[in-house]
């Protein structure tokens, strides 16, 4: 391919190397690091004049460092007369509003609940969403195009004034289920929360499988406080957990949980617990972005999940070493094909339905 350079940020260099291998081009040379005062240093060593530059950087690890590095790389290519700079972000940072920091379990470093730190006031504390800011920063740095996968909010695309190609992990997930889950026709697709129902039903429809939903229900009439935690099935096809309910039949069946992000993995491990309670035979969880931060790995190991399947949108090597429940599917082919098509001006929508060979 002509007039193309792929550069790797320091978050996930293997991903960029795989893309280059598939495209049959060498990885662009650049030197990344930090000065002794912790400022990020970027030196692009190949000429990028009049070339389409693709910069691969995932939103993982030290998110802020990696994101600032991406911005500086974009700006460096832009000032060095690159024709077009595309940010390839397999896992988009700050894509979702993480749950409120003062939530009890599984949530962040929130050592002390926010309202206790701030003293009680009438003002309702709120947590800032950085989504628009991150989009504006990418545009201000000079990005001309964004390629990403399974954005938590599809509306996110609207925050940009530049083209955003949001690829889907779904064709690869379908492929994985077809090839790796024995007797998948008998299994049930489960969404671990109401927000992901649409994502899960599409997969269930495509594979002609049954579907179940877990719903966080705090003030359900059947759910009086003294019943909480102890409640069994009270309605046909409904199983109550301590703070959530399962709608659908899963007894003695294989369950496949589908979600887009497993961060602290609090949601899917809770969901697996409820599925187990409802009599599920085996529990898979297939998730596009396996950030697995905090004590997620410990939680997964101790959970009822039999197999957690994630993509390599963030580096998984360390996670693989920590738990043998983890399986990884490769999405670099998808990105390489998207880059090839975008560079050649072909349609990308083929990739929304099919897996490239």
């Amino acid at each position: 391919m002509r007039d193309i350079t792929v550069l790797a940020g320091s978050s996930h260099p293997e991903f960029a190397e795989e893309i280059c291998k598939r495209l049959g081009i060498p990885l662009g040379k650049c030197k990344l690091g930090k000065f002794s005062n912790n400022e990020t240093s970027v030196a692009i060593q190949d000429s990028v004049r009049d070339v389409d530059v693709y910069i691969v950087q995932s939103g993982c690890g030290s998110v802020n460092d990696n994101f600032v590095e991406l911005l500086i790389m974009i700006a460096a290519c832009k000032t060095a007369s690159a024709r077009k700079v595309t940010a390839v972000i397999p896992c988009f940072p700050y894509a979702r509003q993480a749950e409120a920091p003062y939530k009890k379990n599984g949530m962040p470093l929130s050592r002390v609940p926010a309202h206790e730190q701030m003293g009680s006031t009438q003002y309702k504390h709120w947590t800032a969403r950085a989504g628009t800011l991150v989009c504006n920063m990418l545009m201000a740095a000079g990005a001309d195009h964004i390629i990403t996968m399974d954005l938590h909010d599809p509306q996110f695309q609207g925050f940009f004034d530049i083209p955003v190609d949001n690829l889907y992990g779904q064709p690869l997930i379908l492929k994985y289920i077809r090839e790796m889950v024995p007797n998948y026709h008998e299994a049930v697709i489960v969404s671990p929360d109401a927000g992901g129902a649409k994502r899960a039903t599409i997969i269930a429809d495509r594979l002609n499988m049954d579907f179940a939903l877990i719903h966080k229900e705090r003030n359900h009439p059947m759910h009086s406080p003294n019943q909480a935690g102890g409640g069994g099935a009270t309605l046909d096809g409904v199983t109550l957990g301590s703070d959530r309910m399962l709608v659908g039949h899963v007894r003695d069946r294989v369950c496949i949980l589908i979600d887009d992000i497993a961060d602290t993995s609090f949601t899917i491990t809770k969901a697996a617990k409820l599925l187990d309670k409802a009599g599920a035979a085996r529990i898979y969880a297939i998730v596009t972005h396996g950030l697995l931060s905090g004590d997620a790995l410990k939680r997964i190991r101790e959970s009822k999940i039999d197999e957690l399947v994630v993509s390599n949108s963030v580096p998984q090597q360390a996670h693989l070493e920590a738990t043998d429940k983890l399986k990884v599917f490769d999405i670099t082919a998808m990105f390489a094909e998207a880059i090839r098509r975008i560079h050649n001006g072909e349609s990308v929508s083929f990739l929304f339905e099919s897996v490239p060979y």
Binding site: T40, I72, T121, Y123, H125, W126, A128
Partner: protein, 331 residues
């Protein structure tokens, strides 16, 4: 008035100052708040377990004049994101004006395309502050004052010089024998200005650099024999330059060497270098927190510049001139 926002304040009801702070330098924010007779606004800046920054705002900023204090030090990128998210949060919460107060401007030294394809990161930072929604920036002793031109919003570049002069006059004294020395040609103007104001001699050290952060050879221009030399610079990072300059001065017959620096980044093994150097005392402003380093380095002393920032905030809020602060230390 500047950019129109200040003129609108005449029609709106009077608003008040809200001070926010990130995690880079809470002591500075507390000192400024104390001087202004305010409380730092309630807000919690944390990190999620996935390392994303999480900002929770604990009080209303609607129609208020917001000042966010964050210095470019420590984990620079984390602190930068904190600042940007705070700005956006306040802007989205209908603050009338948001001012970023950055005692030390991050990435200020990456301000030119000095090699092929080198990024002009200072310009990127300027763009980021603007898109985040900052209406105004207050900083101090920018490495290159041209960085002000990277912005399309007003930038107040305060000077540490008046505070530095005050320190020399009150703490070092021994005026006639003092000579002000610039450790490199780039700082000559800054040093000459201080020498002029103190009415003392001036000397210059010319250095030949081979690589960034590495100095090869130093040439002294001017007489320092049996004098007290005061090295003046805007930034002490790894301190390689300062230590070599001090050695050069001692080799040329200098009695004592002081170093007065605005931004004491003191990264890498700077402290060890200073401890083993002939520098008698290294004086930095508190634009970057360094109290924790004093236990390791008895030579370190502080010039407090929180008063200058507090006064600049007060004047900016009231629409008064800030240029007074370019020449005087607020009482």
């Amino acid at each position: 008035m500047l950019n129109g926002y200040a003129s609108s304040s005449s029609t709106n009801p009077p608003n008040s100052i809200k001070l926010f702070t990130g995690n880079s330098h809470p002591e500075m924010a507390a000192a400024i708040a104390r001087r202004l007779g305010l409380q730092v606004a309630k807000c919690v800046v944390l990190k999620y377990s996935n390392q994303e920054t999480c900002v929770t705002i604990g009080e209303s900023v609607r129609d208020e004049d917001v000042y966010i204090i964050q210095s470019g030090c420590g984990e620079i990128n984390d602190h930068l994101m904190e600042l940007l998210i705070l700005i956006t949060a306040c802007k989205n919460a209908s603050a009338r004006r948001v001012t970023a107060v950055m005692p030390c401007f991050p990435y200020a030294r990456q301000d030119k395309k000095d090699k092929s394809r080198a990024p002009i990161t200072a310009k990127v930072i300027a763009n980021m502050l603007t898109v985040a929604g900052a209406n105004h920036v207050i900083t101090m002793d920018l490495h290159a004052s041209q960085i002000q031109g990277f912005f399309n919003i007003p930038v107040d570049n305060l000077y540490a010089e008046p505070s530095t002069l005050k320190y020399i006059r009150t703490k070092i004294m021994r005026m006639p024998s003092v000579v002000i020395v610039s450790p490199d040609a780039g700082g000559a103007k800054r040093a000459a200005s201080i020498a002029d104001k103190l009415n003392v001699d001036f000397a210059l050290i010319h250095k030949e650099r081979k690589k960034a952060n590495e100095v090869s050879k130093m040439v002294l221009v001017g007489d320092v024999t049996d004098r007290v030399a005061i090295l003046v610079d805007d930034m002490a990072d790894t301190c390689g330059t300062l230590v070599l300059a001090a050695k050069t001065l001692i080799d040329n017959g200098c009695q004592e060497v002081y170093a007065l620096v605005t931004h004491g980044v003191l990264s890498g093994d700077a402290i060890a270098k200073i401890n083993h150097s002939p520098i008698k005392s290294l004086i930095v402003t508190n634009s970057i927190p360094h109290e924790h380093l004093k236990a390791q380095c008895a030579k370190l002393d502080t010039i407090d510049i929180s008063g200058t920032f507090a006064e600049a905030i007060r004047r900016t809020h009231n629409g008064e001139s800030v240029s007074f602060l370019f020449h005087y230390v607020p009482a």
